[in-house]
């Protein structure tokens, strides 16, 4: 069983002559390679740069949005307080007018 396997392996792995044009073919492939390599390396630089730019833009966008939300929130808060202040002031005015009209006019000394 193991002899048979060994024979099969020897047959399959026997040295084969690549032929005379093998070296020429390899050399032709190698000489064609630099262009591809350059294109690949250019792509390899461009992709991470674009990714980095996208991430920076996205982070900047989120930061800007958060800043604007914060400004809008603080402005809205100030407006709420101002609105409540004005409302209370006018309720105060109504209260004062009611009180002064329900009270008898203060007695004034003649000629005062």
């Amino acid at each position: 069983m193991s002899d048979e396997l060994e024979r099969m392996l020897r047959r399959a792995l026997r040295p084969v002559d690549p032929g005379e044009d093998f070296t020429a073919r390899v050399m032709a492939e190698v000489s064609a390679e630099p262009g591809n390599l350059r294109a690949r390396s250019r792509r390899a630089v461009w992709i991470p740069l674009s990714l980095a730019a996208s991430v920076i833009l996205a982070v900047a966008g989120v930061y800007e949005w958060q800043q604007r939300q914060r400004e809008a929130g603080l402005a809205a808060r100030a407006q709420v307080l101002e609105a409540l202040r004005v409302t209370n002031e006018k309720l105060d005015l109504a209260y004062r007018l009611i009180n002064t009209s329900s009270r008898p006019a203060p007695h004034r000394a003649p000629g005062a």
């Binding site: 792509r43 992709i47 674009s50 990714l51 730019a53 996208s54 991430v55 833009l57 996205a58 900047a60 966008g61 989120v62 800007e64 949005w65 604007r68 939300q69 914060r70 809008a72 929130g73 603080l74 809205a76 808060r77 407006q79 709420v80 307080l81 101002e82 609105a83 409540l84 202040r85 004005v86 409302t87 209370n88 002031e89 006018k90 309720l91 105060d92 005015l93 109504a94 209260y95 007018l97 009611i98 002064t100 009209s101």
Partner: protein, 201 residues
């Protein structure tokens, strides 16, 4: 594979640029006349909301003017910036929670002024609809001051408050839309520059 990655990067880049452009466009959107005008334009104002219009002529004459328009979303934004840990902020938050809008127009003049007839008529017309009831109407001839307070009630629930205060050199219109609790409002007196009412004797 490389093409897919390139497409993905391009899409990401485009999305990032678009989001920046959208953020940049936000103030312009908020300032656009279509959104800055009354929310009543779309589907009519909710009960308790007045359309305050016709006061533009007062603005150039006024020494000072205050114009506040806070709809439900702006009130919610403001509420996020009120610190629940602070007692005063907590009370303001309690007041504005459940409100759908707060609108204030106030003008202070150096001289006597005339309430624009169109604005007055428009407001009177709105305040004569079913939900509005006058709760205070006080007129003091000597002080030439008048304050009218109306409340809008529907199904036993307060839906709005309107205050029209006319003083010799000041006109103020306040419209609070939603369930306003005057007791809570009163509790704010003495805080945030809100005047303190004298105690009832």
């Amino acid at each position: 594979m490389a093409k897919t990655v390139a497409k993905l990067v391009a899409a990401l880049f485009a999305a990032a640029v678009a989001s920046l452009a959208a953020v940049a466009a936000l103030p312009a959107l908020a300032a656009s006349p279509a959104l800055a005008t009354s929310p009543a334009v779309a589907a009519g104002p909710p009960p308790g909301q007045l359309v305050i219009a016709g006061l533009e002529s007062l603005e150039p004459q006024a020494k000072d003017s205050v114009s506040i328009s806070l709809d439900a979303s702006l009130l919610a934004t403001a509420a996020r910036f009120l610190d629940s840990e602070q007692p005063e902020d907590r009370e303001v938050k309690a007041i504005i929670t459940g409100l759908q809008g707060v609108y204030v127009r106030s003008f202070t003049f150096d001289h006597a002024f005339v309430f624009p007839t169109g604005a007055l008529e428009s407001m009177q017309k709105q305040l004569h609809t079913a939900c509005w009831q006058p709760i205070v109407s006080v007129h003091k001839g000597e002080e030439r001051s008048r304050v009218d307070i109306f409340i809008c009630q529907l199904q036993q629930k307060a839906r709005g408050l309107a205050i029209i205060a006319v003083e010799p050199r000041e006109l103020t219109i306040v419209n609070i839309v939603g369930a306003i609790d005057l007791d809570k409002l009163r509790r704010l007196q003495g805080h945030f520059g809100i005047p303190r009412l004298p105690e009832e004797k």
